[in-house]
Amino acid sequence: MEPMLKVKDLAVSYGHVDALRGIDIQVEKGQIVSIIGANGAGKTTLLRTISGLVKPKAGAIEFEGQPLPRKPSKIVGAGVVHVPEGRKCFSGLTIRDNLLVGGYLFKGADLEKDLQDQYKRFPILESRKDQFAGTLSGGEQQMLAVARGLMSRPKILLLDEPSMGLAPIIVNQIYDLIREIRDSGITVLLVEQNARKALGICDYAYVLENGKINLSGSGEELLRSDAVRKAYLGG
């Protein structure tokens, strides 16, 4: 079967600095695929390139067998939805407005139903819906960022370091949520520095180092590999 998302020989540079070179990645429908790598490896750049915020220097991105549109707004419309690093909630907008902005491409009864679905999934967001997003804790903001992403009706959700800066117990909640999202039929591309967590949850993983994919395999394979253990799991 054709993979859902296919990144082929992708290269990205910022001015004269190469951030990504020769990236080949495939994501099968219904799976969780992880990309792990150290700070500065190029993980965020990869997601921003897929979601159209950064223009590639070379290479191609295909989604469901078609070239992905180039404009970010069209890419979201195609079902590729990116929850950015650092949550990026609109802190001066209410929680409800954050969610409605997430559902920008939908209107009327559809939008209202999606909103109620997210309130059901995240009761904390409903109970505080008229407060500014900036008043939420880090973990709650991550929930809001994911809920806002789900409001865009993704076929594939790109998550950039959802565990960043969160207490272990909250990280576990987030990972339960990621599993739940996958089980509801949404494919997940998960980017993490937290290699143990990301490899534990995924069906397949890639290791990104200095802008290049150096290793790939199933989560268990990589958890067992010496190279990964040394570099990412503390021996």
Binding site: S51, G52, L53, K71, P72, S73, V76, G77, V81, H82, V83, P84, K88, F90, S91, G92, L93, D97, L100, V101, G102, G103, Y104, L105, K107, R148, M151, S152
Partner: protein, 290 residues
Amino acid sequence: MSLQVIINGIATGSIYALIATGFALIFNILKFSNFSHGATMTAAAFVAYFLVSSKGMGLVPTLAVAGLAGALIALFGEFVGFRRILKNHSAPTYFFVSSITLGTLYEGLVTIKAGSNFFNFPSFFAEPTVGVGSLVISTSDLVMFAISAVALLVLAFIIQKTRIGRALRAVSFDRDTAQLMGIDSTRIIQVAFVVSGILAGFAGVFLGIKYTLYPTLGSLVVKGFIASVIGGLGSLTGAVVGALLLGILETILLAVLGSGYSTIAVFGVMLVFLLIRPQGIAGSNVQEKA
């Protein structure tokens, strides 16, 4: 202090509020000051004067044409002056240069057509004043206040309650992240320019009614600029409050000190205010880029 003076002040302040919000809308979304806003006001008012008012048509068609002209001029400015700069993430200085250049261009075009003459809008109202109890209010002040108030309330409703308004706020907050929600930020920036242009057109006509129409009328934009700084750059509500305070302060000082010293005193008071509270009334901490 007589109530009469306060009422005049509010009338003047409501025009400043139109200027200040038009200015603040663009500041919010691009984080730079659009120095062509004043010349946009003048140009739109002149277009309406020559096409409509001078042919004997009334205030409503004049405002409609001025609003339309302001919107088109602002759209032109967005496309020619700002879009490329934004796309290339160029230094803020370029915004400064291109907005000042555009403003000079508009003013130059107006001067070619109008010379350095003064033009009077025809008197739009049969009765120059209306009496409310013991107060005598100029009809034009009353109408300008009412129209400004309605325009600002409609704007507030759009920004707070509609889909496009939410998108505008999201793009103003974080352009990249808003795009990740499927929002076409270029389109939303165009909407902001259109709204800002309509407000500029209204303000231009009102200033023309109040002070006569002349090619450098747009320099009064500085009042709107001051109002939005006092209100707190980045806050539309703050801009309106700042504009009303400025209008009232000006009218009071004019009544007390006469026209010579009052202008100086107004700026003096504003400088002191900004020394005490540099973040303005609303106090948001937006950093100015240009």
